[in-house]
């Protein structure tokens, strides 16, 4: 009996993680050039037009790369070469008032144009970088971030 319970627990847990992984997409790739990829759950997917982007994905470009993504709320985000950016959170359910867009830029250059979340709830957008966070009031901006090297102690 106890064994059965453990089995049920394990099964429902695996189901829970499965639903998290197959979450609704946050957006899709629209433009890409050179080395451009998406790091998802440890694996790497090459960017191609229409490739879905999910919460938790890391967008990455190489020395000759660039990548442009359109999000479900009409936000538009693009990266220049040698760039890396994490989609920490994306929630767009205006009917239920669930709105959130949190990105973390680790290095490189980016261009950002805010969409509906920016109009409906500007305070739920966060654009984090190693040196500062950017609050966005309905707008378009550029960011350049130098990679922070791990300091040797």
């Amino acid at each position: 009996m106890r064994y059965l319970l453990a089995m049920i627990c394990a099964f429902s847990l695996s189901c829970a993680s499965f639903t998290a992984a197959s979450d609704v997409p946050a957006g899709s790739v629209k433009t890409f050039k050179g080395m451009a990829s998406i790091v998802r759950q440890g694996g790497i997917v090459s960017a191609k037009s229409g490739e879905k982007i999910f919460k938790g994905d890391i967008l990455r470009t190489g020395a000759d790369g660039s990548l442009g993504v359109i999000f479900k709320d009409d936000s538009v985000l693009s990266l220049g070469p040698n760039s890396e950016l994490v989609i920490d959170d994306f929630l767009f359910s205006p009917a239920e008032g669930k709105l959130s867009f949190v990105t973390r830029m680790l290095k490189g250059t980016a261009a950002y144009l805010s969409g509906m979340i920016g109009k409906l709830a500007p305070q739920s957008i966060r654009f984090e970088t190693p040196v500062a966070s950017v609050g966005i009031r309905g707008t378009r901006f550029l960011a350049k971030v130098e990679e922070v090297k791990e300091s040797v102690k």
């Binding site: 629209k30 990548l67 442009g68 693009s78 220049g80 261009a111 040196v131 009031r137």
Partner: protein
Amino acid sequence: MKRLGIVFVCGVLLFFLNSCAARQKNLFVLLADPDGKVGQIIVTNQGGSQVVAKPMHATEVKDAKAPPTEPFPMEKSEIDKIFGAALAAQPDPPAHYTLYFRTGSTDLIADSEKLLPEILAMIEARKSTDISIVGHTDRVGTTQQNYRLGLDRAGGVRQILVSKGVDPSIIEVDSHGEDNPLIKTEDEVPEPRNRRVEVTVR
């Protein structure tokens, strides 16, 4: 003497290059929106906070503890040099269309039918790989019936696009039923502006 001169020039050059590189370490630049409106960015860290409110003005941040600098203007050529590739990769914002329907049915009104070629042309022009079609209804009928009707309306539009050659795998269909009206009404009130399908071409 000549050699000393060269060393001096090199030194000055190096200093200049260094200061350039330093200035471009971490930058946040405000641009005008595509429609010309200008918003704001607020750059904050442990050192303080700085609002940038003028287009093509930037604040620079040395590190997480140093306060962001006073906003300063940047030349377009300088912006293009640093951000050219990111700007070139920036996709056009999505195009939106609203199609309206006859009451209780999946039949488009005549004016909306005329919009279809425009939508197809946009899908073609954008080489779109991501289209969403969301159906809505007014509040005549039950919530469940209206969810179904919204889905049927969206499905009908999808069918039209697919029949004109749009790849079905890039289309996402959904219904908000009567829950997401453009115009708020009491229950059971007919409202033509809420009987609609919203098409987003990305």
